[in-house]
């Protein structure tokens, strides 16, 4: 009887533990902090990365093909000061335009609102500034979901290599009010 209960515990406990940790790992193990860009996290899509199965699994499990190898995929859920990105607040996004063939900045899981390389208005110095707000505002405007928190996704396709430091500079995100 004792052997039966112990083996049942080992099987069901092991399966439960393994599946639970796998679900958790698929959602987070493929992410790493984006070097030099506070708050941004990057999905590890390099072929040499040991966490690649988790990154690929994350996208496939969402019913998506993984991003092309030439793409860099960044996400964030908090602003530069650590505040959760919430639909109740207004957030300003600013930074230099990314040197790439294409980029897109989107808000929300189901891509409620998108700004892309071809649409964004830049200032005379080539910088981009955008605002995430429930109500329309002049300039580059992104609409968050109607309620709750949201994720900001920044996808850079075929970044153009810069001389010296190859680190991409990603936009800053600051809360402008609630």
């Amino acid at each position: 009887m004792r052997v039966f209960s112990s083996s049942a515990f080992a099987i069901f406990g092991g399966l439960g533990l393994g599946i639970f940790t796998a679900i958790y790992a698929l959602g987070s193990f493929g992410l790493k902090p984006a070097t030099g860009n506070q708050g941004w996290q990057e999905w590890r899509l390099s072929e040499n990365d040991r966490m690649l199965p988790y990154s690929l699994g994350h996208f496939l499990g969402s019913g998506q093909v993984p991003p092309p190898k030439a793409a860099r995929y960044y996400v964030r859920e908090r602003d530069d000061e650590g505040n959760v990105l919430s639909s109740d607040c207004i957030f300003e996004i600013s930074g230099p335009s990314t040197p790439a063939r294409w980029w897109s900045l989107s808000v929300g899981q189901k891509e409620e609102s998108v700004l892309s390389a071809g649409q964004a208005m830049l200032d005379s110095a080539g910088n981009i500034s955008a605002v995430v707000s429930r109500h329309p505002l002049p300039g580059n405007w992104l609409k968050p979901p109607d309620s709750g928190s949201f994720t900001l996704t920044y996808i850079v396709t075929e970044p153009i290599k810069q001389k010296g430091d190859a680190t991409l500079v990603l936009p800053h995100v600051k809360k402008a009010g609630c």
């Binding site: 080992a10 399966l15 891509e111």
Partner: protein, 187 residues
């Protein structure tokens, strides 16, 4: 000692379950999604995704862009993707059924907006060993453009054209609709 044995057993089962889940479950979800997405479209045919579905399948695409898809099946022979693309930035990515990207091409690399990609099933090690030197390729070289070998029978070719203005969509779609994806029976 007995308790330690069962703890170790539990951990070993947990590790096995973890690895199995990570390696197989996402692929099954993806295949199910793919089948649902193109249920009305036969394999080896080219179609443009409705704009509300394209970012759900191809993560770099936004709702403004144009995404064309060929769901290929190499079981009955090779598949030829003939692409007709606009004069702008575009990418062609080919994935296997398990989500591995086996081919990528963009407008600069291609140097042309009209080309073909020949998809064939990669030979197994045994087939390579048994193949003769004067075998298949020798007499059948065709001017087909690029040739891609897939280790898996099924997969997906995705054409992505990002657009700066949604008003360009109709014109770009019209161009891309001339693309084709056809099965060429094995000879």
């Amino acid at each position: 000692m007995g308790r330690l044995f069962w703890v170790v057993m539990t951990l070993l089962i947990a590790v096995a379950a973890h690895i199995t889940y990570v390696l197989f479950e996402p692929g099954l979800v993806f295949q199910k999604k793919l089948n649902a997405l193109s249920a009305a479209k036969p394999d080896n045919s080219f179609f443009i995704l409705p704009h509300e579905e394209q970012s759900q399948l191809f993560p770099t695409a936004t709702a403004n862009d144009v995404v064309g898809v060929c769901k290929y099946d190499l079981d009955a022979g090779r598949v030829v993707l003939s692409a007709k693309l606009p004069r702008s930035y575009w990418t062609v990515s080919i994935y296997t059924d398990s989500g591995a990207q086996i081919y990528a091409l963009d407008d600069v690399q291609a140097g042309s907006n009209s080309f073909t990609v020949d998809l064939t099933r990669a030979k197994t090690l045994l087939q390579q060993l048994l193949a003769k030197n004067d075998g298949e390729d020798g007499g059948q070289i065709e001017n087909l453009g690029w040739k891609v070998e897939s280790t898996e029978r099924r997969g997906l070719a995705v054409i992505w054209v990002p657009l700066s203005d949604v008003l360009m969509r109709d014109g770009v779609e019209k161009t891309i609709r001339e693309s084709d994806c056809k099965l060429k029976a094995a000879q």
